[in-house]
């Protein structure tokens, strides 16, 4: 992208944000497959609206369509922050239907892999066009230095989007929040367990601070 196009886009995005203060910001929940994105989205949605967003599963690519929960009102320190949560499919550079054949028959596995590829493309499109901020969810029991994480954080930074990194699954014995902090020191990392509801106060404080 040329320098002047980039400068123009940057100014345009800043202006859009300035004049859309009344509109809830669309916060995309991104990350690799099985990081716990939908578990987190459901936790936030249940805590503040009473409804869930989508089905959770240990099988990768359970979420194969981006889903938006509108007008989630989060109250912090007497103030209300209203956001739209966009739960996105896990991003990857490869999908092999044989990954799923232990859990389902071949026809369903092929269908799931096709839908998963569409979902990844959809998630990338949302990131380029339609989100105002990003919650990047990582499984803190896994090595965070993967190409997908490096690329996605780079893409988010290149679009000047505010980003919070959530180190999920701190309830697991192998969890290491420090490994994530060391991998992405330029961003704030918040530890949590979306499944157990651990450290959710800091999660909501950070969301209000970054996206309010």
């Amino acid at each position: 992208m040329g320098l002047f196009t980039e400068l123009k886009d940057s100014i345009s995005r800043a202006t859009d944000r300035l004049f859309s203060e009344q509109e809830p910001k669309r916060i995309g929940i991104y990350g690799p497959p099985n990081a716990g994105k939908t578990t987190l989205a459901n936790r936030i949605a249940r805590d503040w609206t009473g409804d869930a967003i989508g089905a959770e599963s240990h099988v990768p690519h359970e979420t194969r369509r981006a889903r938006r929960k509108e007008n989630v009102e989060i109250e912090r320190d007497g103030k209300t922050v209203t956001i739209d949560i966009v739960d996105t499919p896990g991003v990857t550079t490869k999908v092999d239907y044989e990954e799923f054949t232990d859990e389902m028959d071949e026809e369903d596995a092929i269908r799931r892999s096709r839908e998963a590829t569409e979902g990844v493309a959809e998630a990338m499109h949302w990131l380029r066009e339609d989100v105002d901020g990003v919650i990047y969810v990582l499984d803190s029991a896994e090595d965070p230095i993967t190409q997908v994480n490096t690329m996605l954080i780079g893409i988010i930074e290149s679009r000047d989007l505010p980003v919070l990194i959530f180190a999920n699954k701190i309830d697991l014995e192998e969890s290491s929040v420090k490994r994530i902090e060391d991998a992405f020191p330029q961003h704030k990392t918040v530890p949590l367990s979306a499944k157990e509801g651990d450290n959710m106060d800091e999660v909501y404080d950070s969301i209000a601070e970054y996206f309010g």
């Binding site: 992208m1 400068l7 550079t93 230095i145 190409q147 679009r159």
Partner: protein, 133 residues
């Protein structure tokens, strides 16, 4: 570009073709031309090495186009590796205006997902295992 090795062809040479693509060759190309060149090579079973890598926007579009081309039993996608970005990188707009984007160009290795496996990666070393199939 030379004719690629087809891993399914019994008469094909027993090896893996590696295409090292210079930054100079990529300079004049549009985003989709770069993506097409990379994916055409990967579809043929080649390992593509880019001297200067892709921009974040190009990486985003590469993922999208790769997803559209995945087909059961034929193409499972790509493995892509580049060095993690350094901690001191200036990602601000001003930083990029001052030349940060130039400094970000990093060697990138791309191959078929079923033929390349990353063994180790840190800020200065990528170690990968490449198989013919």
């Amino acid at each position: 570009m030379p004719k690629a090795t087809n891993p399914d062809d019994p008469d094909a040479p027993d090896g893996v073709q590696i295409d090292l693509i210079s930054g100079e060759r990529m300079d004049g190309m549009a985003t989709m031309e770069k993506i097409r060149m990379i994916l055409d090579g990967v579809h043929d079973g080649n390992i593509v090495i880019l001297e200067e890598g892709l921009t974040p926007d190009e990486e985003s579009r590469l993922i999208e186009v790769t997803m559209a081309e995945i087909s059961p039993d034929e193409f499972n996608g790509i493995e892509i590796e580049t060095y993690p970005k350094s901690d001191t990188r200036d990602s601000s707009l001003l930083g990029r205006i001052m030349g940060g984007e130039e400094a970000e160009a990093k060697l990138t290795v791309i191959g078929p997902a079923n033929q390349i496996e990353t063994l180790h990666k840190d800020e200065t070393l990528i170690s990968a295992l490449v198989s013919r199939n």
